[in-house]
């Protein structure tokens, strides 16, 4: 999925013995201080780095690295100033970045914006475990992490529409192509202005990093044009364009009345109405008399 262009980590994870000339990065700046005793190197002002093999570019005001005295491996790498890392269509912008080899941990802080052509996340801090390929993005106290995902337009697969929202925290599981949005999560689908609120949502992305499935849990409230729903859990499947409500599900649709049950399946497109629930699940419909 390569959600995060964690250049610092990607490069530093490569064993030194496996490195060839192409693995080297090219760096330049206005000044550089090399402290041989500390095994440190600091490059300052208009720092530019390029790793040709992976086509990774970095811009920053300051780059500092510390090497292991015996192996020469980079143990610690810090990037400061208005920084930007790009790899093909992926990017990350931040003010301060640190990589610690011993912990396998990269931390990006400041005004953090990261993503690619299909998604973007904006927050204050990203902590990323390079060994587990998992990370978390948090915001400053009192603020929220904002996110944008693209999803295929139902009527035209070539078109993409943003699904955007905010949450207290976003957890990234890169290998699983999955993200967990938690803490008063709110999502708005710009295709039809439908809104979903829940305590927690899990997002699955497809091979192109577009939104594939969204699972909401914990006091799910959904408002679509002409339809209002609530349930304990909800699954929004963007492939077949279906919504499944689970646990204390209740739907009120204009002109269709109320539907209640433990499981309700319905089309995302309100006009297409409901699907039946499972036979084992009693479904109660109240149709208003006209």
């Amino acid at each position: 999925m390569k959600l995060w262009p964690l250049w610092l980590g990607l490069l530093c994870c490569v064993p030194l013995t496996a490195l060839e000339a192409q693995e080297k990065a090219q760096l330049k700046g206005q000044s550089m201080v090399v402290n041989q005793k500390k095994r440190s190197l600091v490059i300052e002002r208009q720092v530019v780095a390029h790793q040709p093999l992976r086509d990774i570019h970095l811009k920053a005001d300051r780059l500092e690295l510390l090497r292991d005295a015996s192996t020469d491996e980079v143990n610690y790498l810090a990037i400061d100033g208005k920084s930007e890392v790009t790899q093909k269509d992926q990017f990350a912008q931040f003010d301060h970045g640190v990589y610690e080899r011993r912990l396998g941990l990269a931390t990006l802080t400041g005004h953090l914006v990261a993503g690619n052509q299909e998604m973007k996340i904006e927050g204050h801090q990203l902590r990323y475990d390079l060994n587990q390929k998992t990370g978390s993005i948090t915001a400053l106290p009192g603020e929220k992490v904002r996110f944008w995902f693209n999803r295929q337009a139902p009527n035209d697969p070539a078109q993409a529409h943003p699904v955007e929202g905010q949450a207290s925290e976003v957890l990234v599981y890169e290998s699983l192509k999955k993200m967990v949005l938690q803490g008063s999560v709110e999502v708005v689908d710009q295709f039809d202005q439908s809104k979903v609120k829940a305590e927690r949502m899990v997002v699955f992305l497809d091979s192109t990093n577009q939104l594939d499935e969204l699972t909401a849990s914990g006091g799910v409230d959904m408002a679509q044009p002409g339809r209002v729903s609530s349930s304990d859990r909800a699954v929004l499947d963007y492939g077949p364009q279906l919504i499944t409500l689970l646990g204390n599900a209740k739907v009120t649709q204009t002109g269709e009345g109320d539907v209640e049950g433990e499981k309700i399946e319905m089309h995302m497109d309100v006009k297409q109405g409901f699907l039946t629930g499972k036979r084992s699940t009693p479904l109660r419909m109240e149709i208003p008399l006209k």
Binding site: K24, Q26, L27, V34, N35, I43
Partner: protein, 177 residues
């Protein structure tokens, strides 16, 4: 009256004699002070001590010593700057020419300079200055650095022996991150 004329003539005569006696001599042209010729030496070794310990050792194939200026011009030199702490590796240097100014304790190196720093990193450039008072090596011409974790070029450098600290101007380098 005759006596008066005789007295006056005597006075004039004395004045004339006095004038002739005290007339200024034509100004003499000072001959230029010729500098002593430099002393030519071959297979020279210069040692500099600091605090009773050998600090710098310079060897040159040939040298011209200008005793009046306290300067020595060295050719094909190589040298060693010993570390402050005993047992620590030295810094070695090579250059085509060098000029050692004794009063300033300033060594100017020029031409095909190679510096080998204590940890093996090499610096290659065309002009460098070594200020022994400040333990500082610096240059303002392009310098190439190689042999360490970083390889590249810069537009100038400063290296402080005391803390093994090197500052490079406008560096462009390759390194493994």
């Amino acid at each position: 009256m005759k006596a008066l004329y005789g007295w006056a003539a005597g006075v004039l005569g004395l004045v004339l004699v006095g004038f002739l006696a005290y007339s200024p001599e034509p100004p003499s042209v000072e001959e230029p002070e010729t500098a002593p010729p430099p002393v030519l030496l071959s297979q020279v070794q210069i040692k500099e001590f600091k605090g009773g310990r050998l600090k710098v050792r310079l060897n040159a194939v040939s040298a011209q010593m200008f005793s009046d200026l306290e300067e020595v011009e060295l050719s094909s030199l190589h040298g060693e700057v010993l570390a402050e702490q005993p047992g620590q590796p030295s810094t070695f240097l090579w250059a085509k020419q060098g000029r050692l100014e004794g009063q300033k304790k300033l060594l100017t190196l020029s031409g095909e300079i190679k510096i080998e720093l204590p940890r093996g990193q090499l610096l290659l450039t065309e002009q460098l200055f070594f200020d022994q008072n400040q333990d500082l090596l610096w240059g303002e011409l392009p310098v190439r650095f190689e042999g360490g974790a970083e390889t590249g070029v810069a537009q100038g450098l400063k290296y402080r022996f005391q803390d093994d600290l090197m500052t490079l101007v406008e560096p462009v380098l390759e390194t493994v991150l």
